[in-house]
Point group: none
Chain length 404, copies 2
């Protein structure tokens, strides 16, 4: 739904909305049993909740489109993921809790190994240990360039983040090409401006790369680098203003905190387990109208192609459901940002099971358990993930009538 329309329809209320995201929730049948991870898991609490809820399946972006984490979450936050795209550099910076500013340009960096003629012979520099990565980033931090502040932040193995922040009022642009030729045997490319106003940024990046070669020389296999996914934060309406909700986010992993921060949610300090996250929700319950809480383990297991571990992660999530319910939200949604089927060992395009539980205004349907097959029988059908929050607003009594 258009955010301008949402702003027009939103009315104040005392109600609370809880969006519990199970990362990579959707799955596919195990080839031997024909049952998906959710069907194989012990989901007693989810099944009971489903039988009392409006169920359906969310389409994260579109038919056949496999979303990254950015579009998957933005859609659940009510943003059209086709319209608002978060670039790789920004996501990578968010993923290490870097405090990105609106004027920053961020890029994903890879250390690589170059031969004597400057050609790439290993695109990942032999996957250095993280301590080596930290040491390499230290070297690069010695580089200074006029008019910008440079940040070089280690991620892990061969990956780092480069952030350029203008020192004065000058603007940087992310409309420049990547330097990664994406293949062995090629020389890293020069960054080229894709727009007139991007020439200065391209020049700065190329200077950085040139100086980096000198600083990395003799630093073992990581004697070069490539940069891609140059990006600034997308400009988008702030969530609290668009929906009229004081919004809080609770997540263990930095990337999800970063995505929430990007749309203007307040990111709450929390511990390292899902129990910690729920405890944080409990403690801060009175301060906000909307809560996003993130559960990661299902996705990680799915990415590893580990059907049993994903099933176990869903078992564990199910155990936490009563605690989520005890918080007493007027609207509780259990949703996923995308499917991560173990048989795919990665994200996929398949729609994601969804339930919306609300005290009063939920229509009865035939979805009496919580999985891909049962949710097809739900009253919500297959619908765009970006419509989940408008639905929640309605169920929370926070939307006025449209038209007289």
């Amino acid at each position: 739904m258009d955010l301008d329309l949402i702003r027009r329809l939103a009315v104040p209320n005392e109600t609370k909305i809880l969006l519990a995201v199970v990362d990579g929730l959707g799955g596919l049948p195990h080839p031997e049993t024909g049952r998906s991870e959710l069907e194989a898991a012990q989901t007693t609490h989810l099944d009971r909740l489903a039988s009392e809820s409006a169920c359906g399946l969310t389409m994260p972006v579109g038919y056949g489109i496999t979303p990254g984490s950015g579009p998957g979450h933005l859609a659940l936050f009510g943003y059209d993921p086709m319209r608002y795209l978060v670039g790789r550099g920004v996501l990578e910076a968010l993923g290490i809790d870097f405090d990105l500013q609106p004027q920053d340009v961020a890029a994903r960096g890879n250390f690589c190994t170059l031969d004597a003629k400057g050609r790439i012979i290993d695109r990942r520099a032999g996957r250095p240990a993280t301590e080596q990565n930290v040491a390499l980033c230290e070297k690069l931090r010695q580089i200074e360039l006029p008019g910008v502040q440079l940040f070089v932040e280690p991620v892990r193995e061969h990956r780092f983040v480069l952030v350029l922040r203008p020192s004065g009022s000058d603007k940087l642009s992310d409309q420049i090409t990547e330097t990664d030729p994406q293949r062995v045997g090629a020389v890293p490319l020069a960054a080229k401006p894709l727009a007139k106003e991007a020439k200065k940024t391209a020049d700065l990046v190329n200077s950085f790369v040139e100086r980096a070669r000198a600083h990395l020389n003799g630093a073992g296999p990581a004697n070069g680098l490539t940069l891609r996914g140059f990006a600034k934060q997308p400009s988008m309406p702030a969530f609290p203003q668009a929906f009229g909700l004081r919004a809080a986010a609770v997540a263990v992993y930095p990337m999800y905190r970063g995505l929430a921060k990007l749309v203007g949610m307040t990111v709450l300090q929390t511990g390292s387990t899902y129990d910690d996250e729920i405890e944080t929700l409990r403690q801060r319950w009175d301060e906000f109208d909307f809560f996003f809480v993130h559960y990661k383990a299902a996705d990680s297991a799915g990415e590893d192609g580990d059907f049993e571990r994903k099933t176990a992660a869903l078992d564990a999530f199910d155990q936490a459901v009563p605690k989520l319910q005890e918080l007493g939200a007027d609207v509780l949604m259990i949703a996923g940002d995308h499917s991560t089927p173990s048989v795919v060992a990665g994200h996929s395009w398949h729609p994601v099971p969804f339930l919306l539980h609300s005290r009063w205004t939920v229509r009865a349907d035939d979805a009496d358990s919580f999985n891909e097959r049962a949710c097809l029988r739900g009253s919500l059908g297959i619908f765009p993930a970006s419509e989940a929050l408008p639905l929640a607003m309605a169920h929370a009594g926070r939307f006025t009538k449209y038209g007289a």
Copy 2:
């Protein structure tokens, strides 16, 4: 899905996609038995395939919209049928295998009978035999006009195709009004330009009609003509480039070959039966990534309102399913361009049964047979026909992730 996005997401792969279109596939219940043609037919092979496939129903154009053959097929080829419309004149030319060029303007012509005052007294000139039609077209071919080459091609009964092709670099326009007043007792209308650049074309058409009156005089009841559906080929992105697929089309009827050619598919020579078509697929299997194969008999029987014959046509199609499967496509789709219910004796707006079979990444659903009712229980739901090909691209491993 937007074709620009498709182009961005498409990645190379070795996989093959087979789109088997059953023309007029969808039906409606027989008033006595309550069973549709598909429910009455022996669809053993289709039912087995459905139980192993992702099923659903495609919406060709929109709710309540009955599509012609053009939009029905363009949607299955991945084109938004609201955006890309193939005009009647172009379809009529494609339907007789006319080698239409991008600069041509084509129109559908009807021979009619005029009274002494030039008023239409029979809009179809007594439906002349096809030999008479050919003779009438021969007369019209004697007409010459400056700056254009004229083609007058018989279709059947009272119908013919007129094509105007500019001789030089001048452009013709299809933005002119029809000459058919659509009622008896009225005088055929003059063609009027709907845009400034269309004046020359309107003048040419009016000169043609005037000269035709003289040439047809004394030719019996067909002493006049009307023209409608002036159209040029729509300008649209080529299928092979948009999807990154070497694409081949196999169809017995010229119109479907023409539609495939319009989007840039390679049209393969084939015989006159569906077995011939499948044999052509088999012989040319290594040369292409995508195949469209067309089965006509179900539509023809539905158009004739012949429930039994449509059921028999679906029986016959079912018998061919194992041969389609033996080709070994990585993704096999069984789809229809629109519904042609026998009780309607024509096209209808109803969504069309659809299945997508793929070796790995298909979600289990409750659709265990292939008909209108069972496909409602499928994992794909009711979805736009133009999203079928994006889904196939995903299942064929030919789409990269959207967003980081």
